[in-house]
């Protein structure tokens, strides 16, 4: 079958401990092999940085909320419009592009795997429909459980095994990948217009606290032996002084998986705020980074903010309402019965706005102050902190103190008094950037076992070849070359096929959807549980029989089966 040989590639592959070796990579049938004879295609990658395909472990690209962002924002579609050309379909949009827009732009940056950060199981079918039109990447979806009534009831009853059974049923039914908690308990409170402020607040209608939800979910998650850990969006996002809530949460996280982290804490920039109001708002990234450094069982992503227009969207409905009251721009909200909430508002992050400038600095501080790049992932929580097309700029900022200082000069004058950034000398290395943009994601998501994130025999041939000559590039000085080089690959290869060449995509992406199916004992099989079925049909507005997403929605379908301990 099809074979490909990439010659003279300058490879950085942190999972294989390869740090800048010139080597050949052979591909057969979409997998990396030892070597190939008479390859069908040969690519000479001489002088080009070659990395495993990029993985975004927290982005919002598909599903109800993202699409509502498009639906409500014709003004966003005025940018980024392209017509159908060759194999590429028409695209539109900047912060909430069309599915093809997302897919092509990620592909030109060398990204081959995307994790949609928040999927309400009740609307999972929609996410999977959009995945089908995101052809250049493999897709996975984190599944929301923060306000799931059956789950909250099981926690209240102290029955963690039942909780695990409930997670198992929903994950399989929604064809989801990981357990996502967004403002746990807060989205349920938002059902009557309320919120919780931190992990010890009681949750209305259930006699439990967010902390109990988080801890019990982590235990249940591990009972199911899922590839990924619980993926948490902490309580109290975006509020001055919320870093205490984040620290308290981290202190309560048990370390119960020896293969990977027990908690993935997402967009931590938004949770590292000091001060008692917007007037004395300041960075607490140092405190957060110290806590993370002390806790090897926690992995974070940064949730970097970059300046300009974007659209914020999250399952955290009450948070978006607060943001709306601050910005007075348009506001959408979408509560999902028995499960979760969501909200959307457009924002503009401005350099001359002190709060925005501090937010920008916090993201960078986290990336620079967390010692271990394997536990600090680069992400903007696309499009919340910024559209993902800003990633190359973020990489350049982390690799160059000079670039950071230059940018810092253009910010609100008081920023320096509220942040630690100017004093941080660290400049990330090529290897560290490679870790923070693919290898760490592969490990945190448990995808290494599925052949992702590395480039040795047996791996999926997902490869990004950048027009960057590492030997002749000093990232501390040549940050423009970093930005340009990471913006457009020379080749993006997906499962052994060139899918994007210098920014032009072909439609042979052959995308697949990864989802988990935990096998539980009959006692915890909710599809046979009378109380579950009865409650379901009584309180949901659709029948349980019509709820699960069929495999016909998945295209190429990678079912990750696990044996649960219940």
């Amino acid at each position: 079958m099809k074979t490909l040989l990439i010659k003279n590639a300058f490879v950085i592959d942190p999972i294989q401990h390869i740090s800048g070796e010139t080597m050949d990579i052979a591909v057969r049938n979409g997998k990396i092999v030892d070597d190939v004879k008479n390859p069908d295609e040969v690519i000479d990658a001489q002088g080009m940085l070659t990395l495993p395909g990029g993985i975004d472990s927290h982005t919002h690209i598909c599903g109800t909320k993202v699409n509502f962002g498009r639906y409500m924002s014709p003004e966003d579609m005025r940018a980024g419009r392209t017509s159908r050309k060759g194999d590429m379909h028409a695209t539109a949009g900047y912060s909430v592009p069309t599915t093809y827009g997302n897919s092509y732009r990620y592909s030109r940056m060398g990204y081959t795997t995307l994790l949609e950060g928040a999927m309400a199981p009740m609307e999972a079918r929609h996410t999977h429909e959009e995945f089908r039109y995101t052809p250049m990447q493999d897709c996975l979806a984190n599944t929301l459980f923060d306000g799931n009534w059956f789950a909250l009831q099981a926690i209240q009853d102290g029955d963690t095994k039942r909780l695990a059974g409930i997670l198992a049923w929903y994950l399989s039914a929604a064809k989801g990948f990981g357990v996502k908690l967004t403002n746990p308990g807060g989205t349920e409170a938002w059902g009557f217009g309320k919120d919780v402020s931190c992990i010890n607040d009681p949750i209305p209608n259930f006699d439990i606290t967010p902390l109990e939800i988080i801890v019990k979910m982590i235990e249940a998650n591990e009972m199911l032996n899922l590839p990924h850990s619980v993926h948490l969006h902490c309580n109290n996002l975006g509020k001055p002084g919320n870093y205490m809530c984040t620290l308290d949460t981290y202190d309560a996280i048990p370390d119960i998986n020896d293969k990977r982290q027990s908690l993935y804490s997402t967009h931590v920039q938004f949770h590292s705020y000091g001060g008692s109001s917007w007037n004395d708002f300041c960075s607490k990234a140092e405190d957060i980074a110290r806590s993370v450094n002390d806790k090897p069982h926690i992995v974070i992503d940064t949730g970097q903010v970059m300046f300009g227009k974007t659209t914020t969207m999250t399952a955290d409905g009450p948070m978006e309402f607060n943001l709306y009251r601050l910005y007075h721009n348009k506001w959408s909200n979408h509560d999902i019965e028995m499960e979760t909430g969501s909200g959307i508002i457009p924002v503009v992050y401005r350099k001359k706005n002190l709060v925005n400038a501090i937010m920008w600095a916090i993201g960078l501080e986290l990336a620079l102050l967390v010692d271990d790049p394997w536990r600090c992932i680069l992400a903007t929580d696309n499009p919340n902190g910024a559209p993902f097309v800003k990633y190359p700029e973020v990489m350049a900022l982390l690799m160059s103190k000079e670039y950071r200082d230059k940018e810092f000069e253009t910010l609100h004058k008081s920023t320096g008094r509220r942040v630690a950034l100017p004093a941080i000398e660290r400049e990330l290395t090529w290897d560290e950037i490679a870790v923070m943009t693919r290898s760490a994601q592969a490990r945190a998501l448990g995808l290494i076992d599925y052949g992702k994130g590395y480039l040795s025999e047996g791996a999926e041939a997902d490869i990004a070849i950048y027009p960057i000559d590492v030997d002749s590039t000093d990232p501390a000085r040549d940050y423009e070359r970093i930005i340009n080089g990471f913006s457009t690959t020379e080749y993006t290869i997906k499962r052994g096929e060139v899918v994007c060449r210098r920014g032009t995509c072909t439609l042979e992406g052959n995308h697949s959807t990864y989802w988990v199916k935990p096998h539980v004992s009959p006692a915890y099989d909710m599809s046979k549980d009378a109380a579950f079925i009865d409650g379901f049909n009584r309180y949901y507005s659709i029948r349980r029989a019509n709820y699960p997403v069929g495999e016909e929605y998945l295209g190429r379908n990678v079912c990750m089966e696990t044996e649960a301990s219940i």
Partner: protein, 257 residues
């Protein structure tokens, strides 16, 4: 001075719109420039649609005067992004004339179709006939419409004139339709004739109605009589369903009670 005369040729499908945003004075400064227009999904040379005559030379847009002759009622986007010079339209003009215009003059002897001077920033549009809906308005989903310049309509305007207006001035000598100045934030809208439901959700700016405002909204507060150019007129503040920082002067008004 350069004079450009564009005469619309007779067309097989006369109602099919032509999009011709290339027609701005500045574009004619470049003698090498190719002019393309769109007829539906077909990209054509400008000469397929117009007889083109160019006399004289010019060094800046200000020295260019374009005259459009013939049935131009289905030619859209004329003068889009215009930043100087003059366009004279002898007959009617299609939608989106003078979109995003920042300087210069567009004079229309006939009627203008909808979205005349949408999101205009500066310059002047003088329409001797009527203008359809959304004169000086914004675009879908955007917060701000017209931000500067002047649109003067000698005839009537359709509905939603000055919608989301955020600066500049619109003067309508005839009547305006329903909801002129709805969501207006700044700028001045003057209606010499009648209209209905002016300035809903007004949060700033000024509107003057010298005729009758029908179905006047109840959320504007009557602040008493005053005079503009010796015309006795009632001043209202509002809209108090929102922040209420705008002012309407109305000669007569009728409520829907």
């Amino acid at each position: 001075m350069m004079k450009v005369i564009l005469e619309v040729k007779e067309r097989h499908k006369p109602n099919l719109p032509i999009e011709a945003e290339c027609i701005t004075p500045k574009n004619f400064l470049d003698p090498e420039r190719e002019f393309h227009v769109w007829k539906g999904n077909k990209e054509l040379d400008i000469t397929d649609i117009f007889h083109v005559r160019k006399d004289g030379t010019a060094k800046s847009a200000e020295q260019v005067e374009i005259t459009i002759r013939g049935d131009s009622s289905h030619i859209k986007r004329v003068g889009e992004y215009m930043d100087g010079g003059k366009i004279l339209i002898e007959g009617d003009i299609g939608m989106h004339c003078g979109n995003f215009m920042s300087a210069g003059l567009i004079e229309i002897n006939g009627n203008a179709d909808s979205w005349l001077g949408r999101e205009m920033h500066g310059g002047k549009i003088l329409c001797h006939g009527d203008a359809m809906d959304y004169a000086g308005s914004g675009y879908r989903g955007e917060k701000q419409g017209m931000r500067g310049g002047l649109i003067e309509i000698m005839g009537d305007a359709g509905d939603f004139a000055g919608e989301t207006m955020a600066g500049g001035e619109i003067i309508i000598h005839g009547n305006a339709g329903d909801m002129p100045g709805v969501d207006i934030k700044d700028g001045r809208l003057t209606i010499m004739g009648d209209c209905s439901r002016p300035c809903g959700n007004m949060s700033g700016g000024e509107c003057r109605i010298f005729g009758t405002a029908y179905d006047m909204l109840p959320t504007f507060r009557n602040e008493g009589l005053t005079a503009i150019d010796s015309v006795q007129i009632t001043r209202f503040s509002g809209d108090y369903m929102s922040r209420g920082l705008g002012t309407i002067y109305v000669a007569n008004c009728k409520y829907m009670d």
